[in-house]
Subunit: 181 residues, 2 copies
């Protein structure tokens, strides 16, 4: 990549992070280009879709969350590890308002730039779930795909401001439904 292009690329990522933090993942692409003081075409040249931009921005975070699953798996009872990881995923999506909808769209669309990251996360969750199931601590009749659905539903709910005061309670109720009893 040419030096000026590299500079634009990096600067766009920095500004996009700010704008997404302020307005959520549906923020106007135009606004990002404007605030980066770059032509709109430059933004689209580097990131042909909104999802490509989100992916470039969050790739390392998705990787870290997957690694985190392994580390929790190694340092905690399987049920605690699963629940802790679920908490961290929900906290992450909450910090990145608007990210769960494109993720849910990407999980079964291999053309999406977010596809690989979503599959990685689903696998990380499935692995934690499988270990808890092997220990008899999570209900046996749940798949990784179903766990991902539940995560997505909780993540979306967490984005709704009218739900804020009940977030912890609902998390406990739903997490309880995943564990065996």
């Amino acid at each position: 990549m040419r030096a000026d292009a590299r500079k634009n690329y990096d600067h766009l990522l920095t500004i996009a992070r700010e704008v997404f933090a302020e307005h959520g993942a549906e923020a106007a692409m135009r606004d990002i280009a404007r605030r980066a003081e770059v032509g709109l075409g430059t933004l689209y040249r580097h990131f042909p879709t909104r999802e490509a931009l989100l992916e470039a921005l969050l790739r390392s975070s998705f990787g870290a969350l997957a690694e985190r699953a392994k580390s929790l798996e190694a340092s905690m009872p399987s049920d605690q590890a699963l629940v802790s990881w679920l908490k961290e995923i929900i906290a992450f999506t909450h910090e990145h308002r608007g990210i769960i909808a494109p993720m849910m769209g990407a999980i079964e669309d291999s053309d999406s730039a977010l596809h690989a990251s979503c599959v990685t996360l689903r696998s990380a969750g499935a692995s934690l779930l499988a270990r808890a199931q092997a220990d008899g601590k999570a209900r046996a009749d749940l798949s990784g795909a179903e766990l991902f659905d539940i995560i997505a539903a909780l993540a979306w709910l967490r984005e709704q401001s009218s739900h804020a005061s009940r977030a912890e309670r609902i998390f406990k109720v739903i997490a309880g439904a995943i564990l065996s009893h």
Copy 2:
């Protein structure tokens, strides 16, 4: 209301129903006016917000769902009544793609045209829940507001096409978390 206004009002509702059915509740207001062959200002005069239009369209359905709760309550064991009603609510929101997000926004915004309908639904659910709780068939530590959150989460999930194949399973898992065991 003047006769020509009445005619426009009714015609707009008919067309809006079609357009929302085709494109979901976020369909373009312009598109509705266009297809109704009415000026855009006429649409906004009758329905100053999208929510006012949705409310006029769905008011009777919301009322019917609330009535349905009472009728199920009278004709079934309390746990079955609760679960059946939940199923009907999810089916309804599924038929009206995009409706759950404005509903979730309206439930704590008394200025929203959808507010009253949402509160009515929440009350209907709370009543079913309370009866099941009194019978020891639903977990006692759940409020009507929490039930509404869970309904909203399930409804949103049901809108995601990647989730379609698992909808029944997830419903059972979550409904199971509401009942006692």
